[in-house]
């Protein structure tokens, strides 16, 4: 498809397990972002990748969170030893480049529930 694709769409797991969330950005988009939306909240920035530059990880809430972007395309967000407060919708976005006036295009998200 032409849009940002995320998988799985839903994930339920037990506290303490590791989870991996996947994002396929729009082809040709060099910038990729991860956000999360907790219940009743706005979107919270987590991390972004731009081309081959070092990622900006300043939004990651703890060292249990990490992300990779392989080959400048697909990205994986990994949460280790999940906690109940990690329950949220995790959204990925991509844009042609970074900079103002470059709208970010979002996927439909992964709804993560930690039991």
């Amino acid at each position: 498809g032409a849009g940002v694709s995320q998988s799985p769409s839903n994930k339920v797991t037990e506290k303490g397990k590791d989870v991996e969330l996947r994002c396929d950005p729009i082809s040709g988009h060099t910038a990729l972002y991860w956000y999360r939306q907790s219940l009743g909240q706005g979107l919270e920035f987590l991390i972004y990748f731009q081309g081959n530059s070092a990622p900006d990880k300043s939004g990651l809430p703890s060292d249990r969170f990490s992300a990779e972007r392989t080959g400048g395309s697909v990205s994986t967000l990994t949460i280790q030893r999940t906690q109940q407060e990690d329950s949220a919708v995790y959204l990925c976005a991509s844009s042609v480049a970074t900079g103002a006036n470059q709208p970010q295009h979002f996927g439909d998200g992964t709804r993560l529930s930690i039991l």
Binding site: Y35, G42, L43, D56, A100
Partner: protein, 113 residues
Amino acid sequence: DQQVKQNSPSLSVQEGRISILNCDYTNSMFDYFLWYKKYPAEGPTFLISISSIKDKNEDGRFTVFLNKSAKHLSLHIVPSQPGDSAVYFCAAQLGTSGSRLTFGEGTQLTVNP
């Protein structure tokens, strides 16, 4: 530290009338503002944006107004349609921060037929 705030969690208007969604921010260094629309179980969709050097941007039924002195922006939808019913997020960008977006909490707009 909530730098972007949408103080109205919900708004209900009649079809054909104007919808006005409001957003306040605290960081005077933001140089770009965007509005996104979100339907349930879907990702946010970009709607309209405005540079901090402008005070108005219009696109069809959607107009965004920026008042820098008041650190306030608003989205006007005229005329409102039932299909506009969604959650609207205000977002802001710093030119130096790699284009990360700082979002407000969102406003649920309901347009009644």
